[in-house]
């Protein structure tokens, strides 16, 4: 994953949280995720296809997820029901969708979101390339943005 592919996601997560949740997000320096690190309790995942392939995952501790969904939807969350997972999926959709427009003129399609709820679950990560983690801090609590974006032309040229 090229370093210049990370910045669109940093800009996008800040924009989405500021616009839809009314909060600022602080983001730590990107790092590569290793296989033994679990995700948090609630994860929204978007698959990428087209001239770049990969995935984008937004992963929250349950407490953060509930507070974020309440701020986003304007409704209290009593339990992680379908409306809760819908809101998490839509946040992932907006973050991935806004980032892809700045992926250096690559034509990229995004999937409809998938949401996983389960304490300390692990994502089965494909081997397209390294996963980058952005550790985010918001007034609602911490969360991670995890992504793997690989340009198809570069992967073919490199024999991947």
């Amino acid at each position: 994953m090229r370093a210049q592919h990370v910045n669109p996601f940093i800009d996008s997560v800040k924009l989405v949280f500021e616009t839809m949740l009314g909060t600022q997000v602080a983001i730590a320096k990107p790092r590569i995720k290793t296989d033994d690190q679990p995700s948090y309790d609630v994860t929204g995942i978007i698959a990428l296809s087209g001239e770049a392939v990969g995935s984008v995952a937004v992963s929250f501790p349950m407490d953060t997820a509930i507070k974020c969904v309440e701020a986003f939807s304007g409704m209290p969350v009593e339990e992680p029901d379908d409306n809760f997972t819908d809101a998490i999926g839509e946040l992932a959709n907006m973050i991935a969708g806004n980032a892809k427009k700045d992926l250096e003129n690559l034509k990229v399609n995004i999937s409809v979101p998938t949401v996983i709820v389960g304490q300390g679950h692990r994502l089965g990560r494909h081997q397209l390339g390294p996963w980058i983690v952005l550790e985010c801090t918001s007034p609602h609590g911490p969360f991670n943005l995890e992504m793997c974006v690989v340009e198809v032309a570069a992967a073919v040229a490199g024999g991947a």
Partner: protein, 126 residues
Amino acid sequence: MRILLVDDSTTMRNIQKKILAGLGYSEIAEAGDGVQALAAFNAQRPDMMLVDWNMPNMDGLTLVKKVREVDKQVLLLMVTTEAEKTRVIDAIKAGVNNYLVKPFTPAVLSEKIEQTLAKRLAAAAS
């Protein structure tokens, strides 16, 4: 005015519904994908549709094309995360009257709806 909200996210439909209610619109129907929306369109013939792009079963662009095959008058506002210029051009060619990129504030959605209505009034007056 009858408005049909088309988005696979119930959260987004609820947010849009709340904003529209605040603007005084009360005849609001909903659909969760393009197939449902086409059925609702045929049954209800709304005056305006707010249409998401990425949805299961039938995407918003296909829906717009199908609606425009039979109705040139209904106002179509695409509300989507698809922000690339090529996508906007595709949507305009398919027949949308206006385009709004998510995320958006209530003020921006209100402005886009007013703009869309104003375009129709201007076209009718000319």
